[in-house]
Symmetry: C2
Subunit: 433 residues, 2 copies
């Protein structure tokens, strides 16, 4: 007929009108006279109500016999309904089956994680996974909006690099014609070069760590946002970070209300995520941990997940841990002017045990100091010549940071494991699908 | 003092006020009494005018002796000036040098391409390269805006995959713990799975082709935007493509006026890039080429760059070449219902010799046909089981396409070679910097 073709997300524009939607059957239940179809179309979920007395015996039976994940064009009248999660329902007048699914493997019953991961290409269709992907999309959208509004340019650093940074054991290597190449673990050094050309830049791309860890916070392939800012010193960088993370939380709260409900996310906790965030120095964090009874850590040691969680639990916002010992951090961080043994760096620890979501620092601006650090770390001056050049030709104070997308998605969505926060996770024994 | 700190892009907000800007010296010239500093800060370029009589002998000499690419905080009064490209000039009152550069290698004289590519980390600072990066940034910004406005979700397909698609010679391989893995050449198959979960999706990520070609259109590592749309058939997909590309051209025209001027881009040509775009079938394109005197091509052959250019020159907009022979295209394309020997596909050829910027098609929706094609192409059914599943559980008509970012940047910027359209190009013999 002449119905409007629309999507579930947009039915609110057509109340009391007849619309047609391309959809899949997510679930159903029925009595003798009425069938309730849980429909999904990728933009959302809606209940379609099929009343035998209105559609006739044949259409009613067809609707009743629809199998899970069959695809269909469904026509019906949009009704406002306060009891519906989305606020709308569809009084179905016609169902046209496109393709009948048989034996869809993911049924409403419980499935084991490995089974679901093997069927990730289908698992993504479920209400919960759909909601996580929508939150992820919103975080990405808000990231671009935030950095565009703040005059950052998007810069894409290379993925394939010819030089292996420190600790090559966690690098993926490949043959680049006759040379050896490695998959990027961070675009930061390139972003520093870009910042000297474009002022404020941010990247958004995949990074790779061949780590043999199997924790709920680790992925082999994950996405990072890496801003780098010329003429920005340590304190201003922290301000930009807390504004950015607050913007993400606010955007998700505003634009993913239904999804957060689906996920059972405690939104009161997210509402507290507003700049400024607390700051605690590494020194004070060590003292705090000792006071809390941790006797497995001393000054100079890195924090483990239990330490980060204990510190994070003391606050109801993300917390910056600042001024780590120089020996714990990479070669390029600017030392504190008053104390040689710590650097102008900060990790941002998310609340609720989600761990570190940002690592950042001011970068060394002195050529001599950077050269010294490269030598101390047994890195090759040849490899880093271009990076040293940035301190040779108009060096300026600059800072940057990297936010891990999947940990941020997991935190804001409230999902337990980062494997659910990326469409197709790559894990220690998982390269399929 | 109490000056406003701002950026060159924003000086228009401070006309006749004193501001301070962190900047680099791009170039300079001077007479006995007046020095003209070409300043850049990443957001733009501005001329600083230093008058001896106003700043005094010492400050004037310091400004006159500034070396290229030295970094400085410059303070001055913003003047509107119609002769300036940006419309503003700075009457300098104070110069504070941050770091003095010596012997900056890229001087205003001509340099060879290899030299410039070896210094890509510095070359990006030049006015022309800066302009190309700004156009690239605008294309990325407009891409997100377009797809967000049209209800697409951003989905990041995996880069590391366990299965080698057709033609493994052009794949980069790596060891994934005990398994073999390959770098993605396209996220399309994963985007199809995502479209069945989220309706309309788009990706934006790096792709890799270990091609031994050295043309002005090829990069080893390049970025693609790959939208995939459930319930969208061939014709509607073409409409979305022409709207998207028109949106990119319009956005660049509106928001990169200065950059297009710097690049000497003929903007009249870009103003014509408005939907709808012409369509020519592969059949008609072959006939057209024969009429133009090409005797090196017959039905069933793929087009080379000269053929594409000859066809493109016939139009003043991008042109879709549609309905290619099935044998020329990948296994997953939907055949034309009326003709088994051609598929529902289209390549979009940019004007002015920039070549193919989009490849797309409707995808096969029948399980049986897809299985047959996988067998015909000697691919493994095991590897593609998850992809076949999409046709087993609620298959729907769907289409998608991939736009090559660097070719699009090169075209809209008017730069000759794609190597200038990406921050750090990866070429046959180029993995540095
Ligand atoms: Mg840490
Ligand atoms: Mg082609």
């Amino acid at each position: 007929g002449n119905n409007v073709k629309t999507t579930i997300a947009k039915v609110g524009n057509y109340v009391e009108q007849e619309v047609t939607i391309g959809a899949w059957l997510a679930n159903k239940r029925s009595s003798g006279k009425i069938a309730f179809l849980q429909l999904r179309d990728g933009t959302g979920f809606i209940q379609g109500v099929v009343v035998k007395a209105e559609v006739g015996e044949e259409a009613f039976q067809a609707a009743k016999n629809l199998t899970q994940e069959s695809s269909l064009y469904v026509t019906g009248t949009v009704r406002a309904d306060d009891r519906a999660p989305s606020g709308y329902e569809l009084t179905v007048t016609k169902v046209e089956v496109i393709h009948e699914a048989t034996d869809y493997p993911i049924t409403p019953k419980e499935h084991g994680t490995e089974f679901l991961m093997d069927h990730r290409h289908l698992w993504l269709r479920s209400k919960r996974q759909h909601a996580v992907m929508k939150v992820r999309n919103e975080i990405i959208r808000a990231t671009y909006e935030f950095f565009n509004q703040n005059d950052f340019s998007k810069v894409d650093p290379p993925i394939l690099t010819g030089s292996a940074p420190e600790g090559t054991t966690e690098l993926f290597a490949t043959k680049y014609f006759d040379e050896d190449a490695y998959l990027s673990q961070s675009g930061q050094l390139y972003m520093e070069a870009a910042a000297m050309a474009l002022g404020r830049v941010f990247s958004f791309g995949p990074t790779f760590r061949a780590e043999k860890s199997k924790t709920r916070r680790h992925l082999i392939e994950f996405w990072m946002i890496e801003p780098e800012m010329a003429f920005v010193e340590f304190d201003e960088s922290l301000e930009i970070q807390e504004q950015y993370v607050s913007y993400l939380a606010k955007s998700v709260l505003e634009n993913c209300q239904l999804e957060l409900k689906t996920l059972g996310r405690d939104t009161e906790k997210l509402e507290k995520v507003q700049a400024p965030f607390p700051r605690i120095s590494y020194d004070d964090a060590i003292t705090f941990l000792h006071e809390k009874g941790f006797d497995d850590i001393k000054w100079g040691d890195d924090f483990g997940a239990p330490h980060e969680t204990a510190i994070a639990e003391h606050y109801d916002k993300p917390v910056f841990i600042t001024h780590y010992p120089t020996s714990l951090k990479p070669f390029y961080m600017q030392p504190d002017a008053n104390r040689e043994d710590v650097v102008l760096c900060a990790d941002l620890i998310a609340p609720e045990g989600y761990g570190e979501i940002i690592g950042g620092s001011e970068r060394i601006h002195s050529y001599e100091l950077l050269e010294q650090r490269i030598n101390e770390h047994n890195l090759s001056l040849d490899t880093y010549q271009w990076y040293l050049d940035l301190r040779k030709y108009g060096s300026v104070p600059h800072s940057g940071f990297g936010l891990g997308l999947e940990r941020t998605v997991a935190w804001l969505s409230g999902v337990e494991h980062v494997r659910e926060s990326i469409p197709f996770p790559r894990l220690l024994n998982r390269l399929y699908p």
